[in-house]
């Protein structure tokens, strides 16, 4: 950035004759090298600061990062954000279509409100048909008390950001086959879907760095063993292997253990890509002078790897980890969708989508497919963020 700015401030090639000028200032040989405070800040910036400056220019990545941060923060307070509880059932409103929020009723400003449902059973098709009743105005309540819940299983509370009117309903994204509010379930589902990628990547990171690190640093038989195992794991088609492994998780396990089991499985099969990257980076870095110097000073391999070599490409690793989180989220979604992943009562986006398994849903209850929206958004955001990070981490761009 700085170099291009500088060349521009000097202007393009001069047109015509340059007037002959003699500078009356005494000649200062070091004059060109005096940096403005701004330049000094840039040139003396640490590696991480440079990355941050570069990253900040990547608008899409910054937006994605902010969005992800917001989503991850939201899982801390899912109970408050969701209008209903995860398992609240409304048997009067089964497969109710989404209600939309209005501001004006008959030309008059009422504030945000929804129209109530009018339900009738179609005696020919035996479908429940919902229409909105234009006389039934149900203003939303904000910062209100609604369904009571145990906040993170710590204490009882009933505070919500938004609640339906007393005796009214608020199904902004419709309800499912048991009359549960989709929006609330999606908000709760984020808790599982978003964390599963993080835990999985932590496992895969650990494995990838240690195996790739050992292979790259020691070379020889360690390297060829690692290379072979990478090749073997990679030649398995991912999802069938995930499926097979999660199918053998004992059925007696409680849902929370299944959750951990699935994360471990996702992580266990993801490391080869990372290990390969670490290995090739280490192979080139260990020949560098600073690595040899550390070795000659008697540093142990562990210290050399973690203290000297790893920081040189940590940024690169973070970027590639960011890019592989979406794979895990999609993997979990597919597993749960097929009924071999998480099981209710644990609710992830994949579990929610498993309700949308047949074609009738597309035709009759398309809102059951809505949990796919957060999946797409999160996967895209991680991809953009990862791209931005990778560009920022690359010093040659």
């Amino acid at each position: 950035m700085s170099s291009s700015d500088q060349s521009q401030s000097m202007g393009g090639p001069p047109r015509g004759r340059i007037p002959h000028t003699v500078d009356d200032q005494p000649f200062d040989p070091g004059g060109d090298e005096v940096l403005t405070p701004e330049q000094e800040r840039l040139y003396m910036a640490s590696q991480w600061r440079m990355m941050w400056l570069k990253f900040r220019r990547h608008k899409l990545a910054v937006i994605s990062g902010a969005l992800l941060l917001a989503l991850y923060l939201s899982i801390l307070v899912s109970e408050v954000l969701a209008p209903y509880n995860l398992h609240s059932r409304f048997t009067d409103h089964i497969y109710a279509p989404p209600q939309s929020v209005h501001l004006f009723h008959e030309g008059e400003f009422v504030g945000p409100f929804v129209y109530g449902y009018e339900k009738k059973l179609n005696m020919e098709t035996l479908e429940r048909e919902y229409t909105s009743n234009p006389d039934d105005v149900q203003p939303l309540r904000f910062f209100c008390s609604g369904d009571s819940y145990r906040f993170w299983d710590l204490f009882q509370a009933d505070f919500h950001l938004v609640c339906p009117a007393e005796g009214g309903t608020l199904f902004l994204l419709g309800t499912d086959r048991l009359g549960r509010d989709m929006l609330s379930r999606i908000i709760y589902g984020a808790r599982i879907s978003l964390t599963i990628g993080l835990l999985g990547i932590a496992i895969s990171f650990l494995l990838g760095i240690s195996i790739g690190g050992a292979a790259g640093y020691y070379g020889g038989w360690v390297d060829s063993t690692a290379q072979r195992s990478i090749e073997i794991v990679r030649s398995f088609p991912e999802i069938p292997l995930w499926l097979a492994l999660s199918a053998v998780l004992p059925v007696t396990w409680s849902p929370i253990w299944v959750y951990f089991g699935i994360t471990v499985i996702l992580g266990l099969l993801d490391w080869p890509g990372l290990a390969r990257a670490v290995r090739s980076k280490l192979l080139s870095l260990r020949e560098e002078d600073f690595a040899v110097a550390a070795q000659l000073m008697g540093a142990r391999p562990r210290r050399i790897i973690f203290r000297h070599l790893l920081p040189s490409f940590a940024s690169h690793l973070i970027a590639s980890a960011t890019l592989s989180i979406p794979t895990m989220i999609l993997g979990e979604t597919a597993l749960s969708f097929l009924g071999l992943g998480l099981r209710p009562p644990i609710t992830s986006w994949g579990v929610l989508l498993s309700e949308a398994q047949n074609i009738n849903v597309v035709a009759l209850y398309p809102w059951l497919m809505l949990p796919v929206v957060p999946v797409i958004v999160v996967v895209l955001a991680f991809n953009f963020l990862g791209d931005g990070l990778r560009d920022a981490a690359d010093p040659y761009r």
Binding site: I232, P237, I239, L243, V248, L338, M369, L380
Partner: protein, 332 residues
């Protein structure tokens, strides 16, 4: 080239052995041996247990023998084309699978061809016209394809195929051809149904491929020899085909190693939604009912398919690139 091919085929063998061991371990993972589970299940249903049959099975799989011997029995069986015994269907796996292996193979191959056919022109276009509206639009669609879970895409496409083209829902052929011998009509019906799964399975792979080809080609296009070529008056189109494209295409070809597992995976999930008569659907069914022999055989088949695909991609690379052929090492 011949020597390279032989060498490459030999390195495949240890990989396949390792894979078979892993698959066998997975088969063994559920607690208890499957036969005792099976007997318990039969008894729970109040059915009589045919002792003779159990003895026969016990003997055939050498369940009383040590683990390594069981493994050997299983592997020799596989090599002879005996895929084991499905406890759910109470038939040898061979009879259960029928056309499934063939159809899986067909779908995978067609999907790969589709992926290459679509991603190559788009990849080249987006790289050459970087930052044009076309580039942005296509890249955006590509990103969407990457991010949408393909089972859901399958549902939606299936719905539209039915509404718009009147294609029958589910399956890979019209119902009247199921369990019929192969005929031209059946082939035609399969082709009519094939496009939905192919598009669905191919989307994410295509998107990834486009991005990779675009990145590779951009790297090459920014190099100095391209500028030199242009400066010397080489027509841009000719220059593109002659130099940068040929360099950028290497990773594109070798990527089949990534693509194939992805396609096989995707096919497994999509086959459930689309009710495809392929191995994927049966694999999942088998896994759900813990019919591990059936599942293991399928897993082994899918993994072998992948390994063979990687072999083919390495060979294709060797044909294209003399550096690999002569060094005898494929860079992947």
């Amino acid at each position: 080239m011949f020597a390279y091919t032989i060498r490459r085929i030999f390195t495949m063998i240890p990989t396949l052995i390792a894979i078979s061991i892993i698959v066998f371990v997975i088969i063994q993972l559920p607690p208890g041996d499957y036969l005792s589970t099976y007997i318990a299940e039969l008894q729970a249903q109040g059915e009589g247990v045919d002792q003779q049959r159990i003895d026969f099975l016990r003997e055939q799989y050498g369940l009383d023998e040590p683990m390594w011997q069981q493994y050997l029995t299983w592997v020799t069986g596989l090599l002879q084309g005996d895929l084991g015994y499905s406890f759910e269907y109470q038939l040898p796996v061979n009879e259960v699978v029928g056309d499934r292996l063939l159809l899986t193979f067909v779908i995978s191959v067609v999907t790969i061809l589709f992926t290459y056919a679509v991603s190559f022109p788009i990849g080249v276009y987006t790289a050459v016209k970087q930052y044009s509206i076309g580039d942005y639009t296509l890249s955006f669609i590509g990103f969407l394809g990457l991010a949408t879970p393909n089972f859901l895409l399958a549902l939606v496409l299936l719905y539209f195929a039915n509404v718009v083209f009147g294609t029958s829902i589910g399956g890979l052929m019209d119902p009247e051809y199921v369990n019929q011998p192969w005929s031209w009509g059946k082939v035609g019906s399969v082709l009519e149904h094939l496009w939905v799964p192919v598009v669905v399975i191919g989307t994410s792979g295509t998107a990834a491929m486009i991005r990779r080809l675009r990145a590779n080609l951009l790297d090459e296009l920014n190099k100095q020899y391209v500028i030199t070529g242009l400066a010397k008056g080489l027509p841009p189109g000719r220059l593109l085909i002659k130099y940068p494209l040929r360099l950028a295409i290497n990773p594109f070809i070798s990527d089949i190693g990534n693509l194939l597992p992805q396609v096989v995976s995707g096919a497994a999930v999509v086959s459930v939604v689309l009710d495809l008569p392929t191995t994927g659907q049966m694999l999942i069914g088998a896994l759900k009912s813990q019919d591990m022999y059936l599942a293991g055989s399928f897993l082994m088949f899918l993994a072998t398919l992948t390994v063979i695909g990687m072999l083919l991609s390495d060979l294709a690379l060797a044909v294209l690139d003399p550096r690999i052929r002569l060094e005898g090492k494929a860079e992947r």
